[in-house]
Symmetry: C2
């Protein structure tokens, strides 16, 4: 079994019936795998305007052409794809660990889950044997505990599990799907989709060998990339980890603080990567077959929360730290741990709490609304209490459990102006006012505000472009970054390993051919990235999104950066955004309304998908 000789598993939770089909080679070649394959299956298995939390919304799990192999970072990833209850557009999130490896070993390239079970179940994929098993005893249980319990029950420590927590069960639109204790398919509310189906977990055991098309070349590349990963390209991830972005962004005054009221955090020195590493990190671990090791496991060593552990990254540290004005590491780690416990996306939870604090400080909330919580910026107790309430959908947590966009609708008044979201997805920790190419990328990202659809913040932060200027030509830079990220998430390899692909698409094409036997040129692979982007935009168009949704939050456009420094006074004006959007759509071959033209669809071989609209 190599390349795409695998199968696709269809699971109908309503009827309990399952079947497998062979994955057509032409489909595999066209959309590569991962998010590309997932979007293909979602689009061809759903009807327009489907309710994201209805049985008719398919949840697709897909792996990539490298899955199950020992290629470092490539063997271990998986992706979930659906329609997002948070954005109304395409939902996708990639996770790593050991789960994807196991699914490949069981012989499946994708799992398409439709319908809704009458009672809580988990899906047990044991090589060729597929079963829906009762999950009543797992309901309300945290993802990590579900994993441990199923391993105990099945009596096999080496099964792999992806599960939702209480937040997913309660269909919180910021719920995620967690595997391997701490890894998450985090953004766009995929946990809510899984919860709406009464599907608590997916457990997998795969015992087949995974072969590749050109074993000699493949092993040579594995060795080569192991060496590359031991080198400087990945050194950051091994040492300080992603948390070092805190200091970098603060230095450039582009660290969103207090719900973007500031762009510089005075207390950043109290919670930076050195503080975390020296005082909290107890081990740094790696996914299956990865030579980088990036997962910084932090533990609280004293006080009320002694013993609490969480995987700390820049994203969750930023969301509960600077964005809430909090510089107490114990509480930040505790809030992060609660997110894993309930199965929620920490970026979205932290941002929603920051939004509440902003509303409170601006007098938009009544005393009754607050139920004894005092959500002012810098109150570390509030981030813990509120995360807990959001996880349980309890009291004020009910207002917040569907993210800032819904929270603003519930709070009313002019609170929408404080909601830091694009297409409904909360912003991550990069101040778009003073990273203008990043702002364009965030506006056009098909899954909503996020840095992980292009990684473009690097060109702003490194000074490759003038970060304070909206310039023509930024469209093409965003396009090129998106195209390579689409391949990264479809192949699937880890974004942290991008720097080891010295020759970018050329390296990736060689790797792809070594694994699958399908010869592609770097150019064809780049075009596949473009195709996957267009496919996502087709989904968004079918579901009602267009140029009007490719926009920026009010604060980014109207509230200038307040802090001293080169970025002081920066905003992204409507004119700048429109200019950049026009530039981007033109270079993409999209209409002025932001959707692929018929000519572009034809060029990419996507006409058949457009017909299904």
């Amino acid at each position: 079994m190599f390349g795409y000789a695998g199968r696709v598993l269809y699971v109908d939770l309503t009827t309990g019936k399952t079947r497998t089909e062979k994955l057509p080679q032409e489909t595999a070649k066209s959309v590569i795998g991962g998010i590309g394959l997932g979007m293909h299956f979602w689009l061809t298995n759903s009807k327009a305007k489907v309710d994201p939390l209805s049985p008719e919304n398919p949840l697709v799990l897909a792996i990539g052409p490298l899955s199950g192999t020992m290629f470092p970072t490539g063997g271990n990833g998986h992706a979930f794809i659906s329609k997002s209850p948070l954005t109304g557009g395409v939902a996708e999130a990639v996770s790593h660990g050991t789960f994807g490896t196991e699914l490949k070993r069981a012989g499946y390239d994708a799992v398409i889950i439709t319908g809704k079970s009458k009672k809580p179940v988990y899906l047990w994929i044991d090589d060729d044997n597929i079963a829906l098993k009762d999950a009543a005893h797992l309901w309300g249980v945290s993802p990590a505990e579900v994993e441990t319990t199923l391993k105990d029950e099945i009596g096999d420590y080496y099964i792999r599990v992806a599960a939702i927590g209480l937040a997913g069960e309660k269909q919180s639109r910021i719920a995620n799907i967690i595997n391997d204790q701490t890894r998450a398919a985090g953004r766009t509310g995929l946990g809510a989709v899984m919860g709406s189906k009464n599907l608590k977990a997916i457990a997998v055991r795969g015992t087949h060998d995974v072969a590749v098309a050109k074993p000699d070349l493949f092993v040579e590349m594995v060795q080569d990339f192991h060496e590359r990963m031991k080198g400087p390209a990945a050194q950051k991830h091994r040492t300080l980890g992603t948390v070092q972005n805190l200091t970098i962004n603060n230095t450039l005054t582009c660290l969103p603080t207090n719900n973007f009221n500031n762009s510089y955090f005075l207390d950043a020195g109290k919670i930076n990567a050195d503080v975390l590493n020296e005082g909290y990190v107890t081990r740094i671990i790696a996914c299956n077959s990865c030579a980088m090791r990036c997962e910084h496991e932090a533990a609280i060593k004293e006080g009320t929360f002694k013993g609490t552990m969480a995987r700390m990254e820049y994203d969750n540290l930023w969301a509960f730290g600077p964005n809430c004005g909090v510089a107490n590491m114990n509480y930040i780690i505790k809030a992060a741990e609660r997110c894993n416990y309930y199965g929620m996306d920490a970026t979205s939870v932290g941002s929603t709490i920051a939004f509440l604090m902003d509303c409170h400080e601006k007098g938009l909330l009544s005393h009754e609304d607050l139920e004894g919580v005092d959500p002012h910026f810098g109150n570390e107790k509030a981030i813990y209490t509120l995360t807990d309430k959001i996880g349980k959908r309890e009291g004020i947590g009910e207002k917040l459990a569907d993210g800032v966009k819904v929270a603003a609708e519930k709070i009313g008044k002019n609170s929408a102006e404080l909601a830091m979201q694009i297409k409904g997805l909360e912003l991550s920790g990069y101040d778009l006012r003073c990273l203008k190419t990043t702002a364009l990328a965030a506006a056009v990202s098909f899954r909503g505000a996020d840095h992980n659809r292009s990684g473009i913040y690097a060109v702003d932060i490194r000074g490759t472009v003038d970060r304070l200027k909206a310039e023509k030509g930024s469209g093409k830079i965003v396009k090129d970054h998106e195209d390579i990220y689409n391949i990264i998430d479809s192949l699937i390899v880890c974004k942290n390993a991008k720097g080891t692909f010295d020759e970018e698409f050329a390296d990736m094409a060689k790797l792809y051919a070594a694994a699958t036997g399908f010869e592609v040129t770097p150019q064809e692979l780049r075009q596949a990235g473009e195709r996957i982007q267009a496919l996502a935009k087709l989904i968004n168009k079918r579901e009602g999104l267009s140029r009007k949704d490719d926009t920026l939050p009010p604060k980014i456009m109207n509230q200038p950066v307040a802090d001293d420094g080169a970025a002081k006074g920066a905003v992204v004006t409507k004119d700048e955004l429109d200019m950049m959007l026009d530039d981007y759509y033109e270079v993409r071959g999209y209409s002025k309304d932001g959707v692929p033209t018929d000519a572009k669809l034809k060029e990419l071989g996507l006409e058949k998908y457009a017909k299904e609209n």
Copy 2:
């Protein structure tokens, strides 16, 4: 002495007088060093429309803020800047080795040489003691032998020498300036400018210490970059060297062959990096303080040329190999060695020979013209014989010694259509027809056709962009690459080390501040790159160049790629070029005629230079 506390040495060869001035800090901050500083001094010490080979054309030697330090690759470079006799625009070329280190230790950041000596001299810079010494006995001698002779005469093996050969003396417009036996400030004919002044060599002894502003940080960065250079980012340079581009370009059918009549070389396997390394390379050496080591010294081990040695890079191997249809390594190495012997740019010499072969095969030359040489593609003897004749300016060599543009003027008929040059500078080994972003960069490059003003071929070859498409947005990508290359050549660091600057401008700004004490943001450093570009364009404008010169050779626009593969049939049409030029000028803030607008000059603080036009 640190940062720019150094001095500028003025040498008037006509009067023999010399003087020094302190380098103004504001100038240093504005144009950084290297080519930026050189262009500043050239522009402010010359009159418009100066004859490049007249005494009035200044020859500027400049080093950078890192020169003399132990920063790997940064400590050892120098640049020559002038007006080019080949292009009529700005001439600049950077070289590495040990020469720049020594000049800094002598206490000079730049040397501005004007006038013309009555008889051959060399400039002897012995710390504060400056002398013009008789060079009658060195006239006609090769640069390497000049170096050895002066070391013997002065009795100090550790002096450093840059010198011209016979080609420079005879004012061949493709002559270069060679230091450290094999390193060259190669392109744009700077050797002819030096020869026109009767200046045979510059010898330097510097004994001062060189300090940096922040020693602790600087040493930490030196250590860090040593590690980075030992890693994969520079591995290519240590192992196969630049010659590996031969195989890469051939695979993509973008290896110019037979003067661009083909884009694929059937015999590439006979002269690739493995063949070179296994059969010829005798040692791989490094410049001062460099941890990469990239210089592949090749030796011919048997036959007529036994014992001949030359430094082999992709450029000289391509120029005499595929571009002349030659697959005999002995002759390629011998031709490269002859270029060093006479002091000529191998890319230009090889391209001019390829041009002659093309003219011959198309029947444009008479039997008398050829003087017994049989210049057909693939004739290895011809590349040796013709290089020798060009070096001596003898017989048919006289026709060829000023590069393809002048050669085409002398041969007449429709030979100009076969001349592969832009602005008079011969193309390097990248087929622009199927590397379209590279084509734009080559067209706009201020020194003429060359890959080293942006390194942009990497984005085409890696598939970051669609190499077969001319797309809007390519202007900004070219601009961004040019800006960083301008800083690389001004700081001066080695282009081969670019990959070790993970954080690009951010790393460079930190390094610059550590060395000089001048704090700059990555953004300000990027803007300095933009400023240096505009300064070069101002020079070109003053000297009469404009949009009409930002063009491509006839073959690139009219003769489609002939070989099978994805690129078959590719050309860059006039419309595509015009579209990309408009896009590039717009993003640069230049007029439709390709020169910086007043608004852009003001933004960059360059108004004062414009007034001198």
